[in-house]
């Protein structure tokens, strides 16, 4: 393309990044100082930063418990998702009777957002006796249509000749799936892991409905409850906020290529 000055573009993008990052900074600053909750004007640089609010969080609420609950629910969700979606995705690459019906069913289920199912979902989970349990928290998210199609696309891309060669070598279908298909579907798997992690880790509405006891609360729920007890009166709320966000941000920065790919490939099928 032609020559044009670059600095206005940089300026505009830096301004945009500034708007995206300042809220984080503001909360981080409050979490280490807490000072401007009571003082005006707020100072831009934290005066006398200290980690006391983080210590407060540790003692004021069962952070470790919430964290543990979140990890367990996410682990169950991710495992179930990868296994179930890979199985369904593989089945959809085969020809079989009733495939069109199954495809139609999947595509129409995609049009039903989870939020519009909450009342029956609550009643159903109650009937299964799974309210207030890890399994009940994870069960509605056990399989996702988007990820089934991500797996299907990835299995479809495996060269036919490779599968035929494996068959001629006498490998059973299970072995072909296990030793040929799965290793070639690594990126689909990464997409699936990331998407199901984000969905279960950030999920708020379902845990809010499906849990009763304080022991079963996950991190987002604990954070919202903490807000309703404390209002905005303490820096500890913001310390809690940072403690909840930090793992997500870290994970995102470490695997950002997979994140962007996963989140947008999910959408493209949406």
């Amino acid at each position: 393309m032609g020559k044009y000055p670059r600095w206005p573009i940089h300026l505009a993008l830096i301004a945009a990044c500034f708007v995206m990052l300042v809220p984080f900074y503001w909360v981080l600053k409050t979490s280490v100082s807490g000072e401007n909750i009571f003082s005006y004007p707020p100072s831009v640089i934290p005066r006398d930063p200290n980690p006391f609010y983080y210590v407060d969080v540790w003692y004021a609420i069962p952070f470790a418990r919430f964290f543990f609950n979140s990890v367990v629910v996410s682990a169950i969700t991710i495992t179930a998702n990868v296994v179930l979606n890979a199985m369904a995705g593989y089945a959809l690459t085969q020809t079989f009777r009733g495939k069109r019906v199954v495809l139609m069913l999947f595509l129409s289920c995609m049009m039903i957002p989870f939020q519009t199912t909450i009342i029956p979902a609550y009643l159903i989970t109650g009937k299964l006796g799974l309210l207030d349990s890890y399994l009940g928290l994870a069960l509605p998210m056990f399989s996702t249509i988007i990820c089934i199609f991500v797996f299907k696309a990835s299995f479809d891309a495996v060269p036919r000749s490779l599968i035929d060669a494996a068959k001629i070598d006498g490998l059973s279908e299970w072995k072909i799936i296990w030793m040929v298909m799965i290793p070639l579907a690594k990126s689909a798997m990464a997409t699936n892991v990331i998407l199901s992690f984000i969905w279960s880790w950030n999920n708020f509405m379902w845990p809010l409905i499906a849990t009763r006891s304080a022991d079963m609360q996950t991190l987002p729920l604990g954070l919202a409850r903490f807000l309703s007890y404390q209002e905005d009166s303490t820096g500890a709320l913001y310390a809690f906020c940072i403690m909840v966000l930090a793992p997500g941000i870290l994970l995102f920065l470490l695997a950002q290529k997979e994140f962007v790919q996963g989140l947008t490939s999910g959408a493209a099928k949406g």
């Binding site: 300042v22 039903i112 029956p120 409905i209 919202a224 989140l263």
Partner: protein
């Protein structure tokens, strides 16, 4: 038919196993199908059924016809308020998309550090919405929130605005927080669309003497149409079902100023235990979402030469 033909052409050691294969395939599908039946299809049917009943836990269900719907449309002001707010959020999606389009065009130019810009702008999207809501509560705070502070320094206001406690400002504030979180996502989708536009189209247009604006209006925008509608559909669905953002930022208040259908459904169901009526509102909500999605898909489709979003 086609199936048996394929079976004949296949080597014999596979053809013999065709029933076993069917069993294998179906057993691969059944777990997922079961989940979708339990948590998508059954709830949809149950909602419709419940919406025609008077029912609460521990009581027998009574068929009451359209009474729930009658109450909803004619006697329930909160429902209408929630509906208008929901439509307001849907109508605000283009604002976010327009900003994202501008950002995508900027990031798409060949400048240094574009990956860093992209990463930073995308960062807010995968984060926990509850935490995002708390961050924005803090930004909009009346006494010491950064936004009020900046507005006062700049002389835009002489008295701090209680954004989240104001009937005028609460909904726009929630919408702003929502756009902030969705922006990076829109940008990436549009960027993918931009990158799939063939470069030689621009070169040909430049040779024909089209200026930058005409190139944008005649090439970029039409070819981005599918991406833009994709953004709209996903963004719309994401925003109107963004229960956590509204619940944590304002809980629907002040009054019902930020009540949206999904928060209203939750309150009806789980604080007032009116499952039957909540189901009727849910059915309406579902039909509304289907309608908007369908319309957007119709508008996006049917143009020749469209570039796939993916």
């Amino acid at each position: 038919m086609a199936n048996s033909e394929a079976a004949i052409r296949r080597p014999h050691f596979l053809a013999r196993k065709s029933t076993r294969r069917a069993v294998l395939i179906w057993s691969f599908l059944v777990p997922s199908l079961l989940i979708f039946f339990l948590y998508r299809i059954l709830p949809l049917g149950w909602n419709v059924l419940l919406s025609f009943q008077a029912w609460s836990p521990m009581k027998p269900a009574v068929f009451i016809g359209l009474e729930n719907y009658q109450e909803m449309f004619f006697d329930d002001e909160v429902f209408w308020q929630a509906l208008w707010n929901t439509l307001g959020i849907i109508a605000s999606a283009p604002i976010g998309i327009a900003i994202a389009l501008a950002l995508a065009l900027l990031v798409n130019s060949d400048i240094r550090g574009r990956d860093i810009y992209r990463t930073l702008i995308f960062l807010s999207y995968p984060l926990m919405t509850v935490a995002v809501a708390i961050i924005w509560r803090w930004m909009f705070d009346e006494r010491v929130g950064l936004i009020n502070y900046v507005a006062r320094i700049a002389g835009l206001v002489d008295k701090p605005i209680p954004f989240l406690n104001s009937f005028t400002w609460a909904l726009p504030s929630v919408i702003a927080a929502n756009i902030w979180q969705m922006l990076g996502f829109y940008m990436i989708i549009i960027l993918t669309g931009l990158q799939s536009i063939p470069e030689n189209l621009y070169e040909a247009a430049a040779i024909d003497g089209a200026n930058a604006f005409r190139r944008f209006a005649r090439i970029t925008l039409p070819l981005l149409r599918p991406s833009i509608f994709l953004c709209f559909v996903i963004g719309m669905l994401n925003s109107v079902t963004s229960f956590d953002l509204v619940y944590v930022m304002t809980a629907g208040g002040p009054g019902r100023a930020t009540e949206i259908l999904i928060t209203y459904i939750y309150k009806l169901g789980f604080t007032q235990t009116r499952f039957d009526y909540a189901a009727a509102v849910t059915v309406f909500f579902f039909v509304l979402l289907l309608g908007v999605t369908w319309t957007a898909n119709r508008l996006s489709g049917g143009n020749a030469g469209a570039v796939e979003a993916d």
